[in-house]
């Protein structure tokens, strides 16, 4: 009898607990179903399919928060430019245009370029910097330890920002490896001295790789490869692509025909022609003079 009573009590409690447990679960399930039906948000299938065509690296080069963001904007119609994907390039632009049924846009490949050549041979340090090991902090301390305060500090904020290993520090200056660069723009945002800009990816890209606005007399003392503002390039350019902006020559990349006349005439070898690749491949122009360091000057 005792065993029977215990068994009965046990079955009772098992029954009640399972019923209540199952009841709660069913009730919750029903509530979830109902809520999902009422509050359903229509998902656009096209955005998902378009997302498949994009590279999926979520680099942000298109200006949207990841590939899905760009796909959704295109499908909604808020974005009509099909060529914004820099990581995917011309192929992706064509695929996207085909998917949306619009005429393909013209995709101009661009690549990042460091507007500074101030390596260890051309500049010197003004003081011993012992703060946090990044450019943003160093530039906060009297514009950084470099002798030219416009120039590259080479502590690698741009290298940290790049997800594609396309930028590296060599000989005290940052250089872009155009083979890896997908023009996402993260390094441009990262540089505290605004030395990085996008240029059209032409193998003979001609750029005044300097950002200093000092008069020639001053820059000669601080960096031997900087633009001194002599305006010889402005006068020699056959298509008038070069203009002066406060002692700094700027070549309009959309007009430049890459003839190379300005490169030959620049006295400080500040104008570069061509794109840089892997580390160790870049050589300074034969015209570039090394910096006469202050210790040597006082010694001689």
């Amino acid at each position: 009898m005792n065993i029977y009573n215990t068994l009965l009590a046990a079955t009772n409690s098992i029954l009640i607990s399972s019923l209540i447990g199952a009841g709660i679960a069913l009730a919750l399930g029903a509530i979830i179903l109902v809520v999902f039906k009422i509050f359903a948000v229509p998902v656009d299938e096209r955005a998902k399919n378009l997302n498949e065509l994009l590279p999926g690296v979520n680099c942000g080069g298109c200006g949207y928060s990841g590939c899905m963001g760009y796909a959704e904007a295109l499908v909604e119609g808020t974005e009509t430019e099909t060529t914004l994907c820099t990581a995917g390039g011309a192929e992706t632009a064509d695929d996207v245009a085909e998917f949306l049924g619009v005429a393909p846009g013209i995709y101009i490949p661009t690549v990042a370029h460091v507007y500074c050549q101030g390596s260890d041979f051309h500049t010197e340090t003004r003081y011993d910097y012992t703060g946090p090991d990044n450019c943003a902090a160093a530039t906060g301390l009297f514009a950084g330890p470099n002798s030219c305060t416009y120039g590259c500090l080479s502590m690698g904020d741009c290298v940290d920002a790049c997800k594609f290993n396309a930028i590296y520090i060599e000989e005290g200056v940052a250089r872009v490896n155009h083979e890896n660069c997908v023009a996402c723009g993260k390094c441009v945002e990262a540089c505290p001295k605004y030395l990085l800009h996008m240029i059209p990816k032409h193998e003979a890209a001609t750029v005044v790789s300097c950002s200093n606005h000092w008069p020639g007399a001053k820059i000669r003392k601080e960096c031997s490869i900087g633009c001194i503002g002599c305006t010889r390039c402005v006068k020699v350019c056959p298509v008038e692509a070069i203009s002066m902006d406060d002692n700094l020559a700027i070549i309009d990349q959309n007009i430049c025909i890459h003839c190379g006349d300005c490169v030959e005439i620049c006295p400080t070898a500040s104008i570069t022609q061509g794109l840089i690749a892997a580390p160790g491949t870049h050589q300074d122009s034969p015209k570039a003079k090394p910096m006469v360091k202050k210790e040597q000057k006082s010694a001689s």
Binding site: S17, I24, G29, I32, F36, F39, P132, D133, A137
Partner: protein, 196 residues
């Protein structure tokens, strides 16, 4: 009134749910890398805490206890929390899209966050009334938010530092958390002296 203030004070400062009671440490360590994530996650936690407290308390008191089924509390609570999260996500996604953009993606992460289940169980353990339970839930969410904001700032400063090789990553973060936790120890003994 004193009651409510006492509960809030205790759960936010003295027994901070992350730094003193170790609830929700996984997401605390994982999401404090930037402030935006922290804000999104803590908003979501506050929401879910309040809603879950409001639902679990009556079900425990009026359904489980009268039927001597207190041992079912773990299963039932976790089911309620999981469903509440799903329902909340659907409602917010449809009716408040900007709020969804701010914190919607963190909602599914909260289901397995120890903090929610822990606070629900603590509500029962401390024998709070219904109103006190909701206040406790809200306070727990705020305490989570406080800890995350503070720590996100600390981590941001840490990201510029030169950390020795084998301490990079989790070890340095945990030691920093230890120091922040010590600072909260300073609040012990305050409650007896303020609230008599």
């Amino acid at each position: 009134m004193i009651d409510i203030a006492k509960i809030l004070f205790t759960v936010i400062l003295i027994n901070n749910i992350v730094l003193s009671q170790f609830l929700g440490v996984c997401s605390f360590l994982g999401l404090t890398t930037n402030l935006k994530n922290s804000m999104g996650m803590s908003l979501a936690v506050v929401f879910v805490m309040v809603v879950s407290s409001a639902i679990t308390y009556p079900i425990y008191t009026y359904l489980l206890v009268p039927n001597n089924l207190e041992y079912l509390q773990t299963v039932v609570f976790i089911l309620i929390i999981a469903s509440a999260v799903q329902v909340l996500e659907a409602i917010i996604k449809k009716s408040m899209p900007p709020l969804y953009k701010a914190m919607g993606i963190y909602l599914p992460l909260i289901t397995t966050n120890c903090a929610i289940l822990g606070i629900m169980l603590l509500n029962i353990q401390e024998s709070y009334t219904f109103v006190q339970a909701i206040i406790n839930g809200f306070g727990a969410g705020v305490s989570f938010m406080l800890a995350m904001f503070l720590f996100a700032g600390v981590r941001q400063k840490m990201s510029e530092a030169n950390i020795p090789e084998f301490f990079k990553g989790m070890p340095s973060v945990l030691v920093a958390a230890a120091i922040v936790s010590v600072s909260f120890n300073g609040f012990k003994g305050v409650i007896e002296n303020i609230f008599g």
